[in-house]
Symmetry: C2
Subunit: 424 residues, 2 copies
């Protein structure tokens, strides 16, 4: 099998994982529940998926899908294995919706599984030309913001919902003057009546452009342009682009592969992905996806910046999971250019910079996104931005934050306000 | 709060469900982790979500998200409640991607939840005009097939993958001559190189049209037109429509709301939804969605026929779950016309007709989809179709299948081959 997609699953079953792996391969290519006249050996040879490796794991005592299903109500041994299954490209093609349907969507429904998680996907070279990947990615995000040698420092307009456009613009003015590199709408803000995208753009873009004219620095503002209707999303895109904006927040899980693909083909904007909705697909360790198996769909479809939480976030995600996600985005799929800029956020204020730097192998190729961590700094947002930059300087230099803070008062005040426990 | 979307969640937490419900309402509207200058009372009054009802449930001993998370590693009491939360339409708007992001996607990530399931959504009248709903639905599906007073009988070309277009066409010829009302591509078949959509349409449509000319009966053939790229999907749509076809299989979870919305606005075809990928969002009883809370997104976006499994299926889904799904589709959202035709399939052969009829309140408004149940009938597909129709005649007349089979030999042979256990 020369040209194949290889998907790695962690299988859990009260039965025999090897038999279940074989069933996945069969069900997801030629199989059905009775022998059929057309299912010849020739057909099978051409399109059948095959289990190419099986690695047994320790069994577990509780079934991933829970005890509500009669088949898993009792029993204290659920067998597990990692299985690599190869799907011929001839059978699947290079369409990502087909891949999602065949290698993933269908698998979730197999009766014998008490748990199933997709751990990884290796795509053959035939996919390389079939998808655009990021238009801007890391290099483009740096070029457009003029930031080199350190993380981009960004913030989010808060409260998430409720501000009218002129109120938002006033806040944006304060934030651009504070020295941030990047600002975004909260992902929940798209185009409600009280703050339509059009009115928001009209209010905010003059602030951005005015600041650029005065200082030479163009702050990247990512407007929430998501919409269920791709035509609406494109109109929103055009409103932003025509007003001189250069970025947009896309709720990828809500608009889906179709929405993103449509937009990417026509886009002039940096596409900043919020993965809101993703958590239900990964939070139970025995179910769903590892991020490394999910993110390629969105990267190949054209995401430039990818939100992935951070260290000590306010959400459920543990630090190790964030680090794995960061490292997944650092890996080229086909080329270094298909790497989006990782966006590190949630409860960030600078204090997590040293651990983030250490855990990600000493990378500063990231957008560090602070909401309250910037705007609620006791010295105001400008001091907040300085504190975050100072924290990153210390992290990169390998200097303890407390020591660095002795001659960096903005950082000192941030530590005083936000250090562990005080901001939760 | 006059114009609000009301979402019902089943909350599970080691803490206090009432506090967590309040946190959902706050986080998903104005909230962030520190008090913010702009978060005035006026803003809150305008856009804040509110818990409008809380109904305590029995606690459970195992956390829905599993024991891998330190916060849930120990403990044997996870408290539960149903919460109704009202989101002002002023804050959300009527965009389904915004609704998905605000009321659902964001909730999955809340740290304090050990389990979370969305049970239902009530949409206010302002959504009624915002979405097209089904173009054909039940009435259109009946009109196009000429079938009244009984379920449509359909089948699926098998093997799922591997047949070349001329092989598929030969099988379709046999199936249309057998008297089926509906045929579909397996959902895994879209447009691989060995059977491109274009070649498949060229091979199959003449068979359909020839049969129509000879008999007056136009069999509805649903071609797999899904693609990640909406432009590709539209080209596929046009290929089918221009060749005289009238239906298409859409893998809704793979193409997403964007793909479906784009297609529906331009579509001339009956859109037959396969929900492949959905199972991971519903299979764990403490997590994800009830179907009743998920299907409205797709119905409003324009699905005409909706696959929902059936009684005694080969997949994981229990019968009660199927019945709830069927009943959900029977409920109008805003009007009877927004009801798609339920598609009952998986391991069906007619034997499940009496139980299906009884459990769904005596409905024959459905498409009854049999794969092997038709094509593997010992008397051939024509006998298989007759057997299925006979099973439904018996079900509607309230006659035991075994008794009806005494003077209906096709049904008798189906029972002999497929009855419980023999087809698994």
């Amino acid at each position: 099998m020369q040209d194949a997609i290889i998907v790695t699953y962690r299988i859990e079953t009260p039965g025999d994982p090897e038999r279940v792996a074989a069933k996945i391969a069969s069900d997801q290519s030629t199989g059905t529940f009775v022998a059929l006249p057309g299912e010849t050996e020739e057909v099978k040879a051409r399109v059948a998926a095959r289990v190419i490796a099986l690695r047994p794991l320790e069994p577990v005592a509780e079934p991933g899908f829970g005890r509500d299903h009669p088949a898993f109500a009792t029993g204290s041994r659920f067998n597990r294995a990692e299985a690599d299954i190869a799907f011929p490209v001839e059978a699947v093609g290079t369409d990502l919706a087909a891949l999602m349907t065949i290698a993933i969507g269908g698998v979730w429904s197999i009766r014998e599984l008490s748990g199933i998680r997709v751990l990884g996907i290796r795509l053959p070279a035939s996919f390389a030309g079939a998808y655009p990947g990021p238009q801007f990615g890391i290099a483009g995000s740096r070029r457009l913001t003029g930031v080199e040698g350190r993380p981009l420092v960004g913030t989010i307009v808060k409260p998430a919902l409720g501000l009218r456009p002129h109120e938002t613009a006033a806040m944006v003015k304060e934030l651009v003057e504070a020295g941030v590199d990047f600002i975004k709408d909260d992902e929940k803000l798209m185009s409600p009546a009280y703050s339509s995208l059009e009115d928001r753009v009209k209010a905010i873009m003059p602030v951005i452009l005015d600041h650029e004219q005065k200082t030479g620095k163009k702050v990247m503002y990512a407007f929430g342009i998501s919409a269920a209707d791709p035509d609406t999303m494109m109109r929103n895109h055009d409103i932003v682009a025509e007003a001189g904006g250069n970025a947009a927040v896309i709720n990828i899980a809500s608009v889906g592969l179709g929405g993103l693909t449509f937009l990417r083909k026509r886009s002039k904007l940096v596409l900043h992905a919020h993965r809101n909705g993703w958590d239900i697909l990964t939070r139970h360790a025995a179910l769903g996806f590892d991020f490394a198996a999910w993110e390629p769909f969105w990267r190949l479809s054209g995401i430039d910046q990818f939100q992935i939480n951070g260290i000590r976030v306010k959400y459920w995600e543990p630090d190790e999971s964030f680090v794995r996600s960061f490292k997944a985005l650092q890996q080229p799929i086909f080329s270094p250019d298909d790497r989006p800029l990782p966006v590190v956020g949630s409860g960030q204020w600078g204090g997590q910079a040293p651990d983030t730097y250490a855990a990600t192998g000493g990378s500063t190729d990231l957008l560090y996104l602070c909401g309250g961590g910037v705007v609620s700094h006791p010295g105001g947002p400008a001091a907040g931005v300085r504190a975050v930059r100072q924290a990153w300087e210390a992290a990169v230099a390998g200097i303890d934050l407390g020591i660095y803070a002795t001659d960096h008062p903005d950082l000192a005040r941030a530590i005083e306000k936000f250090a562990d426990g005080k901001h939760a």
